[in-house]
Structure formats: structure tokens, C-alpha cells
């Protein structure tokens, strides 16, 4: 069945739309970016996403409820206990989404240099986000087939 024959069920259950609804707000994506960069504390999420405190708090709560973060209490000397936000495996599995967004922006939107370099830890070589099948080759749009279930 081709993509042109999708049922209402298939449109309702689109994983792309569902993922956008879950994490697709710009502010959520920037918070996830910061988490991949190693940020765990509320004040740092606010500082590096340049978001409003109330919005960052709401987004962190939402992403925690979704199971992308777990909260862990910490306490600095003389201060009250606060929470650190740690990515769960479910959260870490968004890494290809974030890096794919970065890769496209690096290629098409930057003028003169990209601020972030993502490299393979063992080799130091650049990391790319690619589509692969079992053959192990990188796949382009012409190399893939999209089929849609009836329901």
C-alpha cells in the first residue's frame, strides 16, 4: 500500500507527528540539546537555552513526566536541596534527532564555521547521522521504500 492510500488510522498514528507533539517545541529541543551537552541543573538550562524560567520549568516537568529525564536531589553547601535532571535511556535515544538537526543546519544554515564539533571518541573523526539498512551502506532517499499499513 502506498503512502497515497493512507487510512485515517495511519494518519492518526503517525510516529513523526506523535514525536513532534511530545518533544517538538523549540524550547524542549533546546533543553534536550543542553542535556546532551552535559547540563543537568535548572539554572544552566535557563542560561544556555536563553529561555524564561517559567517556560524552562514547564518544559523540564513535561519531559520528566514523559520519562526523558529523572530528577536527582543535590545540595550545595549552605543552600537548599535542588534537583538535577539526568537523561534516561529514552531521552538518550533522541540523540539521532538532535544530531540530525545539527548536521542539516551545519550544512545549509551556517556561514563561516560551525560552533560545535561532534566526534567519535575513539578515533576523533566526525560523527555523521545516516540511514542504514542491513547492508551497512549509507542510504539516500532513493535507496529506501516507504510502505503504509492499512490499519
Amino acid at each position: 500500500m502506498s503512502a497515497m492510500d493512507r487510512s485515517p488510522w495511519a494518519l492518526e498514528h503517525c510516529s513523526i507527528a506523535m514525536t513532534m507533539d511530545a518533544i517538538g517545541l523549540r524550547s524542549s529541543v533546546l533543553i534536550l540539546r543542553e542535556a546532551f551537552y552535559g547540563v543537568t541543573r535548572f539554572d544552566d538550562f535557563v542560561r544556555f537555552t536563553q529561555g524564561a524560567e517559567a517556560n524552562v520549568a514547564a518544559r523540564l516537568k513535561h519531559l520528566t513526566t514523559l520519562g526523558l529525564f529523572t530528577k536527582h536531589p543535590y545540595r550545595e553547601h549552605g543552600k537548599r536541596t535542588r534537583d538535577e535532571y539526568m537523561l534516561t535511556d529514552k531521552g538518550k535515544d533522541l540523540m539521532p534527532v538532535l544530531l540530525a538537526l545539527m548536521q542539516w543546519g551545519d550544512k545549509y544554515l551556517q556561514e563561516g564555521g560551525t560552533p560545535v564539533r561532534v566526534t567519535e571518541r575513539t578515533t576523533g573523526d566526525p560523527v555523521r547521522i545516516v540511514a542504514r539498512g542491513s547492508s551497512g551502506a549509507d542510504l539516500g532517499v532513493g535507496d529506501i521504500t516507504i510502505a503504509v499499513s492499512g490499519e
Copy 2:
């Protein structure tokens, strides 16, 4: 330099934020999804994204201005000339973004079956979106290093 020492320049020039600003609206992402599914005509974009006509028109215009689509006139018998929207290479390069969103949603948001199957044309095997370095292995979060330029 670690991600915790980013300069204002690095924050301003974040490719993830820039890509979200360019194509990150839900309605834009759904239009791009349809284009990867083979949709080219305005009425089909409206039908399959379940968007309002005015919004779909605005998004298609925006994405065309950005260079993700080119417009090509066509004419059905007895009707006026209309445009088809074809993905450019710049548009096609968003495939990893779309498939990464789908992959995560398939894994974490679906209950009982996923409507869309993406397979390698030559083998019929499932396509995955992965991070790779030059070693060719799939990389997890712990296998990559993120470094930030000073400016």
C-alpha cells in the same frame, strides 16, 4: 572547550536552533513528511497533513523560499495550471531528521503496531537512523565527544 563554556557567539550560531527556526514547526515537519511519502500537490498536502489551507500554503511558500522545494507547473485537462512541489537536494537532506523522529516515536510512543515501514530498497530490511564515525560502528551517546568553538 566544553559545552559549559559556550560563548554568546556559539549560542547564537547553534545549528539545532537554526534548523528548528527554519523547519521546526509541526506543520512544516508534516509537509516534509508528505513530500518524502511522494506527495507533490497542494490538495494532497492539505489532506494528508490535515492542516488548514491557508497554513499549508504559507508553510509551502516558506519552505520553497528556503530552497527545500521547487515549484513545477502542471495542468490537468480542463483545469487551470497549478504547481507541484518537488523536494530539492537540500530538502531531501532532511530525511535523517524525519526518520529519526519516526524511529523514536515507533519505539516509545506507539502501542501495538506502527503504520509506516521504512525498508532498504535492495534488501527489504528495516532502515535505521544511526550515528556513525569513520569506524563504521553505530555510536551511542557515550561514544561521542562534543566540543565547542570559542568563536
